[in-house]
Amino acid sequence: MFQNLPFFPEQASAQAGQIDAIYFFMVAVTAFFSLLIGALVVVFAVKFRRRHHDEIGVAIHGSLALELLWTVIPLGIVMVMFAWGAKVFFDLYRPPAGAMEIFIVGKQWMWKAQHADGQREINELHVPVGRPVKLVMGSEDVIHSYYIPEFRVKADVIPGRYNSLWFTATKPGRYHLFCAEYCGTRHSGMIGWVTVMEPMDFQAWLSGGPTTASPVAAGEKLFNDLACNTCHQAGPQGRGPVLAGVYGKPVELQGGGTVTADDAYIRESIVNPQAKVVNGFQPIMPTFQGLVTEEQLLQLIAYVRSLSAKPGS
């Protein structure tokens, strides 16, 4: 049982080193102060032990200087921790442009992944080494959380909205994937593996095996099957706004105000179309809540986004 006793997780992402650095700093500070206080208490208890029955301690009321010292020094130390932690968080939060996007849908009790070119996985995630990967995640039911300990990344996966996380894997191998937000009976079974591959092997994996249509193609098919194209036409004569070129741009709303046409807005417009109606249009779009799954919503969004894609991307 004691061979290969794991003390510390592997560092398998570019981010892991940063997080471990701050961790070690904090372990050092914790060890220092815990041992200091522990030692002082023990030493004082021995040195000043009561030697006879009526003995009392010396009357010392306090010392402003000491109080200031042990207020200001800890304050300084924690401010360093705060600033360092904030910096690391900003780095974790902002994916670099051009990160490879993979859609993740969590549902009780499995993880579904969809690659941009159509490759689908369940409870697995294949990624290439050395390339930034951004996971765009939604839930079909309750709150889950996508956690890869060896990459030191985690984000809650919440129904009704999208959360994302990003990482750059640095070591080929297989790493644990855990659901990290209690989600019911099989919460501890909602686990899997992240496989990091050399770029050549990843390409081979992408093209081999059964694939389905890419999310963009699947989204286009849905767009037509669900008759979205009858109102959202290519030209301005439709009953709904033109969608080409709209992704990522500000949209003027009825009653004033603008909103950016991002993933969240497009999703909301499909499931709750009356919420933010575009200025100049009638509020006649029916809701598709219950008629499309989270995965299908991601496909529709991918399609709408593709209508704004710059040529050659």
């Binding site: 004691f2 794991p6 904090m26 032990r49 010392i60 109080e67 309750v142 009704g160």
Partner: protein, 533 residues
């Protein structure tokens, strides 16, 4: 012929169940929270037994999920939050301020009945099959997906909250209006300051959890769309509402324990506290700042980065007043006359373990680091260091320290020292390995786990069995002392404070004549001068 005291002033069940005496109400609470502690401990025992092996082979997943949920619900709402205030606070605050009782004795009794009613709802929920949402009741799982007795448990929490609110109200009014002549705020025992600060949190925070669990019950029963996105609600709204109370709640659990430690350290070092006003004000600072940090539970929930930054910053600030207390307690021991009686052993244990627990909280306040650590066993270890290594040690220390006053009996110091040692060793063996397992990535609330984590889990479960013995021992020797313990004088420890100037156990009216106070507590030097009381 027994000397008259509150214990024999009136006999029979009615004289206890309809009492208005704060001391008897404290004992009613003592018995009931001990029962809940045993219940919560049994749930923990099942959790740790299951986690001895990586596979889910002792309980099925649903039952396991109910075990950790019920452990949390019972321990937080029915043991930790009431424990010190309802038992020691109720007993001691009137005496420490020279009063005959609290400001509202009947409301005090009502608080106990409300607590029992809420506890009954929770007990019935447990007997009916339990609840499996985690003590945090996150939505939409709790409102839309869980198949367990959520509404019953939520109502149990809702009802018990009023017990907390009324106790807090009682304490605040009592401290403002019923201090004996000469007892200015800065002559109050630090135990009273700690409970005053705690009471502020109780009355301001508890209404929020009350409405929140009510909304959960409403959404579940009536399908109102508040938190469930399928009904148009926002699941993260629940988290904000829940933690707005539940973070200050942890300060409700720790502040009274800190008050106990201040009293114990002064008595057993025979020295007044170093930095009285700093320790007093730090209690208020913790209470106030503690209301502003709840968002550190939502760092990975997709909360705005800027909100996260603010919550992280303030979470670091709230650690400072706690650090000030630890340094002041340590400085109090310096040049004291230290006696290592069992209450002092618990106090030392508290100081060490609370320091570790508090510092590990800083890891979680660090935004970049919390991403990795959130919802892992690191968090579990952190809060158990504070709740068990801190709050429960404070409770046990206080129970031992004031046992002679409350019961008029002296317990076996030998067995008390053994128990304190077992608790300290057992506690560390249970929870330190969880820090390691957490950083390795073991998520919380996991019924099964990867096999390479087994060593840490076995150590943890082994520690839990030692801890259990350490907790069982006081049940035995404290109860034994009631029948066969040596009778205690008014001041068995050579302490200085109003509670040590009246008999052990006290008469119902506490003081024959209202004392006139001319100085603060724990003035040991000049040694033989007696204050005018």
């Amino acid at each position: 012929m027994e000397t008259p005291s509150y214990l024999n002033d009136g006999h029979g069940l009615k004289s206890w169940l309809l009492t208005k005496d704060h001391k008897r109400i404290a004992l009613l609470y003592l018995i009931s929270i001990t029962a809940f502690f045993i219940m919560g401990g049994l749930f923990a025992m099942f959790v740790r037994l299951e986690l001895l092996t990586p596979a889910g082979d002792l309980l099925n997943a649903e039952t396991y999920n109910k075990m950790f949920t019920m452990h949390g619900v019972v321990m937080v709402f029915f043991f930790l939050i009431p424990s010190i205030p309802a038992v020691l606070g109720n007993f001691l605050i009137p005496i420490m301020i020279g009063a005959k009782d609290l400001a509202f004795p009947r409301i005090n009794l009502l608080s106990w009945y409300i607590y029992i009613l809420g506890g009954l709802f929770t007990f019935v929920a447990a007997l009916s099959g339990g609840v499996d949402t985690g003590w945090t009741f996150y939505t939409p799982y709790s409102t839309a997906a869980a198949n367990s007795h959520v509404i019953l448990a939520a109502l149990g929490v809702f009802i018990t909250g009023f017990s907390s609110i009324l106790t807090g109200l009682n304490f605040i009014v009592t401290v403002h209006r019923m201090r004996a002549p000469g007892l200015t705020w800065f002559r109050l025992p630090l135990f009273v300051w700690a409970h005053y600060a705690t009471s502020l949190i109780m009355i301001l925070g508890t209404p929020v959890i009350a409405i929140t669990v009510l909304l959960v019950a409403a959404e579940r029963a009536l399908h109102m769309g508040i938190f469930d996105p399928a009904l148009g609600g926002d699941p993260v709204l629940f988290q904000h509402l829940f933690w707005f109370y539940s973070h200050p709640a942890v300060y409700i659990m720790i502040l009274p324990a800190m008050g106990v430690i201040s009293e114990i350290v002064q008595t057993f070092a025979r020295k007044n506290i170093f930095g009285y006003s700093f320790v007093a004000f730090s209690s208020l600072a913790i209470a106030i700042i503690g209301f502003l940090v709840w968002g550190h539970h939502l760092f990975v929930a997709g909360q705005s980065v800027y909100a996260g930054l603010i919550f992280s910053f303030i979470s670091f600030l709230v650690a400072i007043p706690s650090a000030i207390k630890v340094f002041n307690w340590t400085a109090t021991i310096y040049k004291g006359s230290v006696s290592l009686d069992s209450p002092m052993l618990y106090a030392f244990g508290f100081i060490g373990l609370f320091t570790i627990g508090g510092l590990t909280g800083l890891f979680l306040s660090t935004m970049g680091l919390d991403i990795h650590m959130h919802d892992t066993y690191f968090v579990v270890a952190h809060f158990h260091y504070i709740m068990v290594g801190g709050a429960i040690m404070g409770y046990l220390g206080g129970l031992h320290y004031w046992w002679p006053k409350i019961t008029g009996r002296i317990y076996s110091e030998f067995w008390a020292k053994i128990a304190a040692g077992l608790v300290f060793v057992g506690f560390n063996l249970t929870f330190f390995p969880q820090f390691i397992a957490g950083y390795l990535g073991m998520p919380r609330r996991y019924h099964e786990y990867p096999p390479e984590l087994q060593v840490w889990n076995v150590m943890s479960s082994a520690g839990a069995s030692i801890l259990a013995v350490g907790y069982a021992l006081p049940l035995v020797y404290l109860v034994y002392s009631l029948f066969a313990g040596e009778r205690s004088p008014a001041d068995p420890w050579g302490s200085k404070g109003l509670e040590w100037e009246i008999p052990s156990p006290p008469p119902t009216a506490n003081f024959e004549v209202t004392p006139i106070v001319t100085h603060g507590t724990h003035q040991y030097a000049p040694s033989k001068e007696v204050g005018i009381v």
